[in-house]
């Protein structure tokens, strides 16, 4: 049984059928890539997992519980963290503070009104956050304001914010978009590395086939809101349906 089971999910925006009877089964501990041409519904699908959108019909089960109708913070507290396509970070805060907030959320739950506790006294949270920053090679920039960081650093910072929570499921929306090759390879290494040590299940949306084939255990190909193929990477390469989806039909 998979840790994330998506069954028959439909989502319509006006006249556009964004998701059309989508089925997805993500096995625990694996990396599952979702690929597909622009507008195929990849991000829409991810939004249905984190509570930003609610599907019209269908079910999304995570770890035995339905995610539908739950608020984003509830879903995160169940163990789902997300990296966004454009980094969503606390730009006015330092890198360390950015990572401490999710660490607090993991330890204290959705809210804890403790106006007289002291951040300075929370060495356990601070240590965790610094370790996560070290994992993404940002340890020496921990006192830098997040808003002043380079785009690549922001992405890695967001990754650290998710990793510090030790989620069961990590959703990555184009984690290497706009990155130089060297940065991309570093990110691949990082994702592989955390996969081995912590056994986090990952769902990756990605355009870069180099990333997809380096990481994925399984690939779903989405086109026009529908999953056309779901298979291991070796069988996806050169699959006629995939070619058709990316390059258009042969007759045209």
């Amino acid at each position: 049984m998979g840790i994330l089971e998506v069954q028959n999910v439909n989502k319509r925006f006006g006249g556009l059928q964004a998701l059309d009877r989508v089925n997805l089964n993500v096995e625990a501990g694996t990396v599952h890539a979702i690929i597909g041409p622009n507008g195929a519904g990849k991000s829409t699908l991810l939004n249905c997992f984190v509570g930003r959108l609610t599907p019209d019909t269908g079910s999304v089960m995570f770890d035995g519980k339905s995610l539908l109708g739950r608020k984003p913070h509830e879903i995160n507290q169940h163990g789902v963290s997300r990296v966004f396509q454009t980094p969503e970070i606390f730009t006015d805060l330092t890198a360390l503070e950015n990572v401490m907030i999710p660490a607090f959320a993991k330890r204290d739950g959705a809210y804890k009104l403790n106006p007289f506790a002291r951040v300075a006294g929370e060495s356990e949270i601070r240590d965790k956050a610094e370790e996560a920053l070290k994992d993404v090679q940002l340890a020496d920039k921990r006192h830098q304001h997040a808003g002043e960081m380079s785009r690549g650093d922001k992405r890695r910072l967001e990754m650290a914010m998710c990793l510090v929570q030790e989620p069961k499921l990590l959703l990555l929306d184009e984690p290497t978009a706009g990155m130089a090759r060297a940065d991309t390879n570093r990110t691949i290494d990082l994702l592989k590395h955390i996969g081995e040590t912590r056994g986090i299940t990952k769902v990756v949306i990605e355009h870069d086939m180099h990333v997809v084939f380096s990481l994925a255990d399984k690939i779903s190909v989405l086109a026009q809101g529908h999953v056309i193929v779901e298979d291991v990477p070796e069988n996806i390469k050169g699959h006629p349906k995939v070619r058709e989806a990316y390059l258009g039909e042969a007759q045209v």
Binding site: V50, K71, P72, H73, N76, Q77, S81, R82, F84, E88, I89, F90, T91, D92, L93, T94, E97, M100, I101, P102, F104, A105, K106, D108, G109, A110, Y111, K112, L113, N114, P115, F116, A117, R118, V119, A120, E122, H143, Q144, H145, M161, Q165
Partner: protein, 403 residues
């Protein structure tokens, strides 16, 4: 000590010393000299400095940390004042029950207003809070007259029940006090040409201001405060990080409402009367100005802003045309009239114009408020020192952004 780090402790000690020594600091000019009118060390104004300081410190907890701009905080000030005056009418002229009631009732009122207003953010939140405050003002003015005294307002009378106090002699005026000491009690100290006034009411309010300031420091440095800054920076990320922002923003709203209630209660303790105009929207706008002028999101900024505006209001507005003529008597006649005519719109009743210009200059050139101005001067001075060492330009990284 006090669970503050070194830097905060230093700031707190400076603020404490300034408030304790305020009667000296604010009265630098000898009595009877031409500059004596710039002295601010008289009880009424000093009380206003600290009371509006409390109001602005509380407002800053909401606006400075979460970024939610409330445009109706005067409503909580007013509710606090009415609660305090009723305690003085019903229970005792001792200020303790009045202060407790003003904080508690303003807190409950803030809970209701905040619960509804925080369903929206941005400009819609501001409009909702403004609507609530104007509704409160209108109701205090009209339908709630039995409770609020309507247009004339309320003040303690000789024949009020006051069940905890002994009956007053007919014709006596009830005055607020604390276990036998009266708020208006003052001790005057004459040193040469200088006259310093030490007022009990001021020191009572100043003590509460220091408590309020310390509390806000602790909130700024707590995980709770960090989450509030997270709300301001990126509320969406906060939600996707597993945090429910609503309890945080509501708690910040209620805390700042309680600060406003405390300020309202203290206003009544110092001057035992209240009218609905205390809740008018201009009063809400004033605290916004104080906070931004001083530096929103900084610890000391709101206090500076409150002091600055109250000083302008009370000192600049007192300067009149004849005083200007005294200043410029040494100029040739025509030129004197010209200079006086040019300055005249900015003084007296025109102090709002001066304030407006100051506000524009600060917002345009010092977006971080007076605090940023101070920091720039500090950096400039330190930069000069460093250049002398020729140690090279080491990039300074701010480790405590919310100082």
């Amino acid at each position: 000590m006090l669970k503050l780090d070194k830097k905060d402790m230093r700031l707190f000690i400076i603020v404490a010393l300034m408030t304790i020594l305020a009667p000296f600091i604010l009265n630098p000019f000898p009595e009877g000299s031409g500059l004596a009118q710039f002295n601010a060390g008289y009880p009424d104004l000093m009380q206003r400095f600290v009371i509006f300081g409390i109001f602005a410190i509380g407002f800053n907890i909401l606006f400075g940390l979460t970024g939610y701009l409330s445009f109706g905080h005067a409503a909580f000030l007013g509710v606090g004042s009415y609660a305090a005056i009723w305690m003085m009418k019903l229970l005792t002229m001792n200020v303790i029950p009045a202060i407790i009631a003003s904080v508690a009732i303003a807190g409950v009122f803030a809970l209701v207003v905040g619960f509804i207003s925080l369903r929206r953010s941005g400009i819609y939140f501001s409009i909702l809070t403004l609507a609530f405050a104007q509704m409160s003002f209108a109701m205090a003015y009209s339908v709630l007259t039995p409770i609020t005294g309507g247009e004339t307002g309320l003040q303690p009378k000789v024949n009020d029940p006051r069940i905890l106090d002994a009956a007053l002699a007919p014709g006596a005026t009830p005055s607020a006090g604390l276990f036998g000491l009266e708020m208006r009690d003052s001790y005057e100290l004459a040193l040469g040409n200088w006259l310093f006034t030490f007022n009990f009411g001021y020191y009572f309010a100043a003590a509460l201001m220091l408590v309020a300031f310390y509390t806000s420091m602790r909130i700024f440095r707590s995980p709770f405060g960090m989450m509030l800054r997270g709300v301001k920076s990126n509320q969406q990320r906060l939600n996707y990080t597993g945090l429910n922002s609503k309890p945080y923003t509501l708690a910040a709203f209620v805390i700042s409402g309680m600060y406003a209630g405390l300020a309202g209660g203290l206003l009544v303790a110092m001057d035992t009367q209240v009218g609905p105009e205390r809740m008018f929207w201009t009063a809400s706008g004033e605290v916004v100005l104080m906070t931004i002028l001083g530096g929103a999101g900084t610890l000391i900024g709101p206090v500076l802003g409150a002091g600055f505006i109250k000083y302008m209001e009370n000192i600049i507005s007192k300067i009149n045309e004849s005083i200007l003529h005294q200043w410029f008597y040494w100029l040739p006649d025509g030129l004197e009239d010209l200079v006086v005519g040019m300055i005249y719109p900015f003084i007296g009743k025109g102090w709002h114009l001066t304030l407006g210009i100051m506000f524009m200059l600060v917002v345009i050139f010092l977006p971080g408020g007076l605090v940023e101005g101070g920091q720039r001067i500090g950096r400039w001075v330190r930069g000069k020192g460093r250049k002398a060492d020729a140690t090279g330009d080491k990039k300074s990284t701010a480790s405590t952004p919310a100082e």
